[in-house]
C-alpha cells in the first residue's frame, strides 16, 4: 500500500469514538485546537471562498451575477468541453490499461521487487510528475525528441506528418496518460486484491469456467470500484494544471489554462473576475464528480470487508 492509496482509498471503518473516560477534561484543551483551526481557515477556507466568491463581485466590489454570463461565452464553453473530453478520454484509457496492470500484478508476490518498484513508480508518476512529465515527453517525442528522430532516420515515418500535435490537445492527452494509468494502478489494486481466491475456487469446483467467473462474479463485484476509480481519474485530469501548462506555454485550450490566462492578463474576453467564474465552474464539476465518487465508493466498500 502506498501512501497515496491510503489517501484516495476509503478509510477502513473505524470503531466509533469511545466515550470519554471519567469526567470530560474541563477547560482549556480546546485552546490547543485554535492554531490549526486558524491555519485552515486562513489558507484553505478563505482562499476557497475568495476563489468562488470573486466570480460574484464586480469591478467596484459589489455583488453581481453578471459575471456568470461568462460561463455561456463560446470560448469558455469550448474550454470546458475540451477539459471534459481530455478528462474522459484519459480516464477511460487510463482505467482500462491500469486495471490490466493491476490484474497482471496479482500474480506477483506482494512484497516482491516488482510490486514494490511498481508501487513507488506509480506514486511518483501519479502525484509528483507535473511539469517533469511534459519534459520527459518532449525529450522523447518532441519535434527534436529522441524517438521522433530515430523513427525518421530508421523508418522514414514522421510523427508530425500533419503538424505538431504534441503542444495541443492530443499531446496533453498523451501526457496525462503518464499519470492516469499509475493513478488507476494505485486506486484499483486494493479492490482487485480484495477479491477472495475462495470465490474462484468455489466457482471452479461447482463446474464453472474461469471466463464464467469473471463474467458472473468478478466483474459485477468489481464494477463499483472500477467506476469509482474512473470518476477519480476524471476529476484528477480535470483539475490538473502543471503538465498542460508546461506543454502548451500559450493558449487556453482547457479550463485550467484559461484560468492562467485570466490571472496573468487584466481582462480577458472583456470580462471582470473571469478567473473566479472559471474557478466556480471547475469546483462545481469536480464537486459533482467527487460526490458521485463517494457514493459509488460506499457501494464498492460493501465487498471489501
Amino acid at each position: 500500500m502506498t501512501v497515496l492509496d491510503r489517501v484516495v482509498a476509503p478509510a477502513a471503518p473505524e470503531p466509533s469514538a469511545p466515550a470519554p473516560r471519567g469526567a470530560a477534561r474541563p477547560g482549556w484543551a480546546w485552546l490547543g485546537l485554535l492554531p490549526f483551526a486558524a491555519y485552515v481557515v486562513l489558507f484553505l477556507v478563505v482562499p476557497t471562498v475568495v476563489a468562488v466568491g470573486s466570480g460574484f463581485v464586480d469591478g467596484h466590489g459589489s455583488f453581481t451575477l453578471d459575471n456568470l454570463a461568462a460561463l455561456g461565452d463560446p470560448l469558455v464553453l469550448t474550454a470546458f468541453g475540451n477539459s471534459a473530453l481530455v478528462s474522459l478520454v484519459t480516464a477511460v484509457i487510463g482505467a482500462v490499461v491500469g486495471a490490466l496492470v493491476c490484474w497482471a500484478m496479482l500474480g506477483l508476490p506482494e512484497t516482491g521487487v516488482v510490486r514494490t518498484a511498481v508501487d513507488a513508480a506509480s506514486g511518483v508518476l501519479a502525484q509528483f510528475g507535473g511539469v517533469m512529465l511534459a519534459f520527459v515527453l518532449i525529450a522523447a517525442i518532441g519535434a527534436q525528441g529522441v524517438v521522433t528522430v530515430l523513427l525518421r532516420q530508421l523508418t522514414g515515418i514522421s510523427l508530425y506528418e500533419n503538424g505538431v500535435w504534441l503542444y495541443d490537445l492530443p499531446g496533453v492527452m498523451v501526457a496525462y496518460l503518464i499519470f492516469q494509468v499509475p493513478l488507476m494502478v494505485i486506486t484499483f489494486l486494493p479492490a482487485l486484491a480484495a477479491l477472495k481466491p475462495q470465490w474462484v475456487e468455489a466457482h471452479l469446483t461447482l463446474g464453472g469456467t474461469p471466463a464464467g467467473f469473471w463474467r458472473h462474479v468478478g466483474m459485477p463485484v468489481l464494477a463499483p470500484s472500477f467506476l469509482a476509480s474512473l470518476l477519480l481519474l476524471f476529476a484528477n485530469a480535470f483539475s490538473s494544471y502543471a503538465t498542460a501548462a508546461a506543454l502548451a506555454s500559450q493558449g487556453s485550450q482547457i479550463v485550467p489554462l484559461q484560468i492562467r490566462t485570466a490571472l496573468t492578463s487584466e481582462t480577458v474576453l472583456g470580462r471582470e473576475n473571469l478567473a473566479g467564474v472559471l474557478a466556480l465552474g471547475m469546483i462545481v464539476v469536480v464537486a459533482v464528480v467527487m460526490g458521485l465518487y463517494a457514493l459509488v465508493q460506499r457501494r464498492a466498500a460493501r465487498w471489501q470487508s
Binding site: 501512501v3 497515496l4 491510503r6 489517501v7 478509510a11 469514538a17 470519554p20 473516560r21 480546546w30 490547543g32 491555519y39 485552515v40 486562513l42 489558507f43 484553505l44 478563505v46 482562499p47 476557497t48 475568495v50 476563489a51 468562488v52 470573486s54 490490466l100 496492470v101 490484474w103 497482471a104 496479482l106 500474480g107 514494490t116 513507488a120 513508480a121 511518483v124 509528483f128 510528475g129 507535473g130 511539469v131 519534459f135 520527459v136 515527453l137 518532449i138 525529450a139 522523447a140 517525442i141 525528441g145 529522441v146 524517438v147 494509468v181 481466491p197 471452479l204 468478478g218 476529476a235 483539475s239 494544471y241 502543471a242 501548462a245 484560468i259 490571472l263 474557478a279 469536480v286 464537486a287
Partner: protein
C-alpha cells in the same frame, strides 16, 4: 513459497501486459536519458559532457536560476515538514486524546484538499499572498503555508494510521500517572510511537513540495519546477537532467516510505 493467486492471469497474459505497458512507460524515460547524453556541438556518439557541464563553474551564471530554485524548494520542504510535525501532529494527537467526537470533522477537513484543484486554490491565494508579501515579504518560504494545505491529506492519512495503531489515551494516562507533564507525554511517549507515520508524512511532504508547480508559478515564486521551465527555454538538456534527478529522488523517497510501512507491519505480527 506463496500460493499463486488463482485470480491472476496466466504466465503468458502476464508477460504480454507487463512487457507491453512496461515498454510504453519505459520508452519516454529511456529516451530522456539518451537525450541528456546528446554530445555537445562538435562531438559525436553519446557523451556525459552535459552532465559534467552542470557543475562547471563557467556555466554557473547560466544555471543560477536552477540552483536558486532548488534552494528555495528545499527551504520550502523544510518549512512544510515543520508545519506537519509542529502543527498538524500535535493537533491530531489532541483530537485523539481530548476530542474524539471531532474526528469525523477533522477527517473531512483534512481530506478536503484532494477534491480542490490547486488552480482554484491559486485564484483565492492570489489576494492573500499580496497581503503576505506586504507583511512577511515575498520570500519563497511563505509558500509553505499554501503547501501545508496540499500535503494535509497525505500527512493526515499517514499520521492517523499510526495514531490508530496505538492506544494514545492509555499511553498518555499511564505517563501522566507516573508524573510526566504534557510536554513529555507528547515528545517522549507519543511521538516515538508515531515515528513511522511521521517519517512517511515528512517524506511525502518533501516529494509534494519538490514537484509542486501550479501555485509557485502563478504566484511568481522561484522554485525548482518554475526554474526548470525557465532553464528549459535556454537549455533543454539541463532541464531533462534535473527532471531525471528529481523523479529519481521522488522514487527513492516513496520506496523508503513503502519499506517503512512494511517494517511496521512485520513488527506488529
Amino acid at each position: 513459497m506463496a500460493v499463486v493467486n488463482p485470480l491472476a492471469p496466466g504466465r503468458g497474459a502476464r508477460w504480454v501486459i507487463g512487457v507491453g505497458v512496461g515498454l510504453l512507460f519505459a520508452v519516454p524515460f529511456a529516451a530522456t536519458v539518451l537525450f541528456t547524453l546528446t554530445p555537445l556541438p562538435g562531438g559525436s556518439g553519446l557523451s556525459v559532457d552535459r552532465w559534467i557541464a552542470l557543475v562547471d563553474p563557467a556555466n554557473a551564471a547560466k544555471y543560477r536560476p536552477l540552483w536558486t530554485g532548488l534552494g528555495n524548494s528545499l527551504t520550502l520542504a523544510g518549512v512544510t515538514v515543520l508545519l506537519v510535525l509542529g502543527l498538524f501532529t500535535p493537533t491530531m494527537v489532541l483530537v485523539a486524546l481530548a476530542f474524539p467526537r471531532l474526528r469525523r470533522v477533522f477527517e473531512f477537513v483534512a481530506l478536503l484538499p484532494i477534491s480542490l484543484p490547486a488552480i482554484v486554490l491559486v485564484v483565492g491565494l492570489t489576494p492573500l499572498y499580496l497581503q503576505i508579501g506586504r507583511t512577511l515579504g515575498t520570500g519563497a518560504w511563505t509558500l509553505a503555508f499554501a503547501y501545508g494545505i496540499l500535503v494535509l491529506p497525505f500527512a493526515y492519512r499517514s499520521i492517523q494510521a499510526s495514531i490508530d495503531a496505538i492506544d494514545v489515551k492509555t499511553l498518555s494516562e499511564a505517563a501522566r500517572t507516573l508524573g510526566a507533564g504534557w510536554g513529555s507525554v507528547l515528545l517522549r511517549v507519543i511521538v516515538p510511537n508515531l515515528r513511522q507515520g511521521l517519517l512517511a508524512a515528512a517524506l511525502i511532504s518533501v516529494a509534494v513540495v519538490l514537484g509542486e508547480f501550479t501555485i509557485a508559478s502563478l504566484l511568481n515564486r522561484q522554485t525548482l519546477q518554475t526554474a526548470l521551465i525557465v532553464v528549459n527555454k535556454q537549455d533543454g538538456y539541463v532541464a531533462a537532467i534535473f527532471t531525471l534527478l528529481a523523479l529519481a529522488l521522488a522514487f527513492v523517497l516513496l520506496l523508503v516510505i513503502g519499506r517503512v510501512g512494511r517494517i511496521g507491519v512485520g513488527r506488529k505480527t
